[in-house]
């Protein structure tokens, strides 16, 4: 039984490590997360191209005039490139420059967001996550009407988000509006498995070990199916929006497996056994 409790060390280390990553990022750049242009302003130009281009050449040619980022887009939907510039640059200038060096700029996708609007989105997005968190906390407390299990569920959700953000930082995934939507979704999924676990352990019958095991089996099935579905979406590379949702959820659900079954299950079992109530 005690060996089971020892498992909590893994998620604790993971959480501390993630906080370290985020704090380190903040100290180096002054920003907690890398934000996409939707949330800070700027332009993204997406071109779908029929053949591969020399990325280094494009970067060389363009970086003389603009400060920008260029990356390749892949997936089953075809090849393309994405150019990102700050809010001070007119995307049309970039297009004509690309045209000059012989890149096919016919029918581009352009997403241009003013800095002021981006800041406003950023503020609203933070507000949305905080509000969602409190709403969900209220529902969880209403469901169990016990303080400790509710706190355990919510702390698991917070850890999920913190660790997911840290991993996004490590993998170089920017936080966009779609990313925010997936973080809210992750809150939902995270609480799904926690409610399952808490209900099974507190209201189930039979040995604690069996209850724990049955919850683990169901929960893992849920997570694995979702992971499988998300991976197939990611492989398809339908669009950057869908890919970002899939990426964030993939990371988040993997993190959630760790926290639900190594942290929360320990906490709930400990609570039950100490109380002898369930």
């Amino acid at each position: 039984m005690d060996s089971h409790r020892a498992l909590i060390i893994i998620p604790t280390i993971l959480l501390l490590f993630s906080v370290g990553v985020l704090v380190n990022g903040y100290l180096q750049t002054g920003e907690w997360f890398e934000r996409s242009i939707e949330l800070k302003g700027g332009s993204a130009i997406e071109l779908s191209l029929s053949e591969k281009v020399d990325m280094a050449a494009i970067e060389d040619a363009l970086s003389q005039k603009f400060s920008l980022e260029v990356r390749e887009l892949g997936g089953l939907r075809g090849y393309g490139i994405e150019v990102k510039v700050g809010p001070e640059t007119d995307p049309q200038d970039v297009l004509s420059e690309l045209d000059r060096i012989g890149i096919d700029t016919d029918q581009p996708n352009i997403n241009d967001v003013a800095a002021e609007l981006g800041e406003s989105f950023w503020f609203q997005a933070q507000l949305a996550v905080i509000l969602a968190f409190f709403f969900m906390g209220g529902i969880v407390f209403f469901l169990f009407r016990k303080v400790v299990p509710s706190l355990a569920v919510m702390s698991c959700a917070v850890s999920d988000i913190v660790v997911t953000l840290a991993f996004m930082q490590l993998f170089g995934i920017e936080l966009s509006l779609a990313g925010f939507a997936s973080i809210l979704m992750l809150l939902g999924y995270s609480i799904d498995t926690d409610i399952l676990l808490t209900t099974r352990i507190m209201k189930g019958v039979g040995e604690m070990k069996d209850r724990h095991k049955s919850a683990l089996f169901t929960g893992l099935t849920m997570s694995v199916t979702t992971l499988g579905a998300l991976s197939s979406l990611l492989i398809f590379g339908l669009s950057p929006v869908i890919s970002q949702i899939a990426m964030v959820l993939l990371i988040g659900l993997s993190v959630d497996i760790t926290f639900t079954w190594l942290q929360n299950s320990v906490l709930i079992r400990w609570y039950c056994e100490r109380r002898g109530a369930c």
Partner: protein
């Protein structure tokens, strides 16, 4: 049969959703392309307009945009086409100048992400009220109609920091939209000025001055100048255009107001408003302040115009009209009250009535817009431009369906391996897919009739099941009534639900949740021997529903803040998730539980 009433409900709703999505009438046949934009240099300008369906070109059927592109690539000389049931012929010198897109095949409203087009977000410079934003939208809409972009969508969106105007133009490039935004219209108000002839001679009266008018052998002479139709003459500072002769009457158009003559269009409650009439109709009125010279010209021109009594309204009018033009195009006409004739009025009141309040408000805004020369009531700044290339959008939907199927297969394989039985996994796939179908059916437009039939059918099934004393299940009953109701509301009026990328993301989330919850139901129901002894099947399903209801509630609450976030950019995600979760817990999960119960009951 009625024992399976939850499954019957699910089947009814799936059928309803399929009809809501796919039932569509093609007034001009299934083949053709939709006109998106007719450019100024096109020979079809003024004949074809946005939304018309071009069905054939030089006698050959047009089958989609690719076919259209191939057929129009090298076109010159005489071109015959039929569009929306009419035949047209044009002479193409240089360019045909018609942009088209594929016809809509479903009742689903796909977003720009999938169709290509331009999305622009404008923010008023100073903090504007919702009303000012709405006036700006009315102004832009009037301009858009004037320049042939009828299908351009404009709506106010509220962010945390005030109101924005969002413009969505499907299939149109940003140059056309920007052009429209920068247009500064010229307004002209012209009064119909009749001159009665007797013995081919008459008198042009302007205020206290008169000029002789003759029409002998088809030559019209005014003040000694001969005029052909559409020629103009300026008398007493007023430009008069000769139109034609009808019977013993010569008709002239007198330009009384130009843009600069309209000094102010009042919108405050003291000078403008709405009065309810009998039968739900509304009368609107507002006052404009006109310049001294404008008021003088109006008095001069309306001098001597005969009056007539209108039986319908019981009021007296001048036998004339004032015609309002924007950029040379007639946009509206108004009758002139008899007591204005010949009088100097610096603050004329403009009135009209419409059959209901909405159309009265709309007409009032339109007239105010025209009188302001199409100028915006506030300065709008472009804060975001999104250009979505139709090339990237093409084929997206097919790919999305393929990706969805692949994801579904992956899930079923995992489930089959886990339970070593097809009996759990296959219903799960069917139920998950039916959720998507029902959500899309709810999103479909113009489907209120179909969903009301579904509502009645559902009600009949629920009542029959209750009559036969089948089990009480409040959530399934609520679902049977609530979901068709949502289907009726969504896709009508201002509840148009556009299927955009965030919506597809939401569908993914819904399917994920759906599969998760079905796994919970399956596991709770099929749990091992020990539990089977202490709980009945019904109790186990009840406990499964405690878990999934809790989980669903938390998801709904997580999504609520998103409805108000980022001026609606991810609203589609939130709406889809919330409605999907509702469909799930109220319709499909009860049906799935019943299927599992039936399959494994021993």
């Amino acid at each position: 049969m009625l024992k399976y009433w939850r499954i019957i409900l699910l089947v009814i709703m799936i059928l309803g959703a399929v009809l809501a999505m796919g039932f569509k009438i093609y007034p001009y046949g299934r083949h053709g392309v939709e006109v998106v934009y007719v450019s100024d240099d096109s020979p079809a300008k003024g004949f074809l307009e946005q939304g018309m369906i071009i069905t054939s070109l030089n006698g050959a059927v047009v089958d989609g945009t690719e076919d259209w592109d191939a057929k129009t690539e090298s076109l010159s000389g005489r071109v015959d086409m039929s569009a929306s049931g009419q035949s047209y012929s044009f002479n193409v010198n240089d360019t045909l100048g018609i942009q088209v897109m594929d016809m809509e095949r479903t009742n689903l409203e796909f977003g720009l992400d999938m169709r290509g087009g331009t999305r622009i977000l404008l923010k008023p410079k100073e903090n504007a009220t919702r009303e000012v934003v709405q006036q700006s939208i009315a102004t832009l809409q009037t301009r858009a109609n004037l320049y042939g972009l009828k299908e351009m969508k404009l709506y106010p969106v509220g962010g945390a920091d005030g109101w924005y105007v969002q413009i969505e133009a499907a299939g149109v490039g940003s140059d056309i939209v920007n052009d429209l935004l920068s247009k500064q219209g010229t307004f002209e108000g012209k009064v119909i000025k009749p001159v009665e002839l007797s013995g081919n001679a008459g008198t042009m009266v302007l205020g206290d001055q008169t000029w002789p008018v003759t029409d002998a052998n088809g030559t019209v002479m005014v003040a000694g100048k001969s005029l052909s139709p559409n020629d103009t003459i300026t008398l007493k500072n007023t430009e008069l255009q000769f139109i034609n002769r009808t019977g013993e009457r010569l008709v002239f158009l007198a330009k009384v107001y130009e843009g600069k003559d309209i000094e102010l269009v009042y919108t405050d409650p003291q000078h403008s408003g709405m009065i309810p009439l009998t039968g739900g109709a509304y009368r609107f009125y507002f006052t404009v302040l006109v310049s001294e010279s404008g008021a003088r010209r109006f008095a001069d021109v309306t001098e001597g115009i005969p009056k007539y009594f209108d039986v319908q309204s019981g009021e007296e009018y001048l036998d004339s009209e004032i015609l309002l033009y924007l950029d040379g195009q007639l946009v509206s006409d108004l009758r002139i009250s008899a007591d204005l004739g010949g009088n100097y009025v610096s603050t004329p009141s403009i009135q009209g009535s419409r059959e209901d309040k909405d159309s009265a408000v709309e007409e009032k805004m339109k007239l105010q817009t025209i009188l302001r020369s199409g100028a915006l009531p506030t300065t709008l700044e472009t804060v975001s431009v999104g250009i979505i290339s139709p090339k990237l959008g093409a084929g997206f939907i097919q790919d999305a369906v393929l990706a969805g199927l692949l994801a579904g297969i992956v899930v079923v394989v995992i489930i089959v391996v886990r339970y070593r039985s097809l009996k759990v996994g296959l219903p799960m796939l069917v139920v998950g897919m039916s959720e998507v179908v029902i959500i899309m059916g709810i999103a479909a437009t113009n489907d209120a009739a179909i969903w009301s039939v579904v509502l009645v059918a559902n009600l009949a099934v629920v009542l029959a099941a209750w009559w036969k004393k089948h089990e009480i299940d409040v959530s399934a009953w609520v679902g049977a009534l609530l979901i068709p109701l949502i289907g009726m509301i969504m896709g009508v009026g201002s509840f148009i639900w556009t299927i955009d990328l965030p919506t597809i993301g939401g569908l993914i989330a819904v399917i994920g949740t759906s599969v998760d919850h079905q796994i919970i139901i399956a596991d709770e129901t099929l749990k091992g021997e020990k539990e089977r002894r202490s709980y009945t099947l019904k109790e186990k399903i009840k406990r499964a529903f405690f878990i999934i209801m809790g989980a669903a509630l938390t998801t709904v609450f997580a999504m609520l803040p998103l409805l108000f976030l980022g001026v609606g950019l991810v609203r589609g995600f939130a709406i889809t998730t919330i409605i999907g979760v509702l469909v799930g817990i109220l319709v499909t999960r009860p049906a799935y539980a019943r299927i599992i119960e039936a399959l494994f009951k021993k």
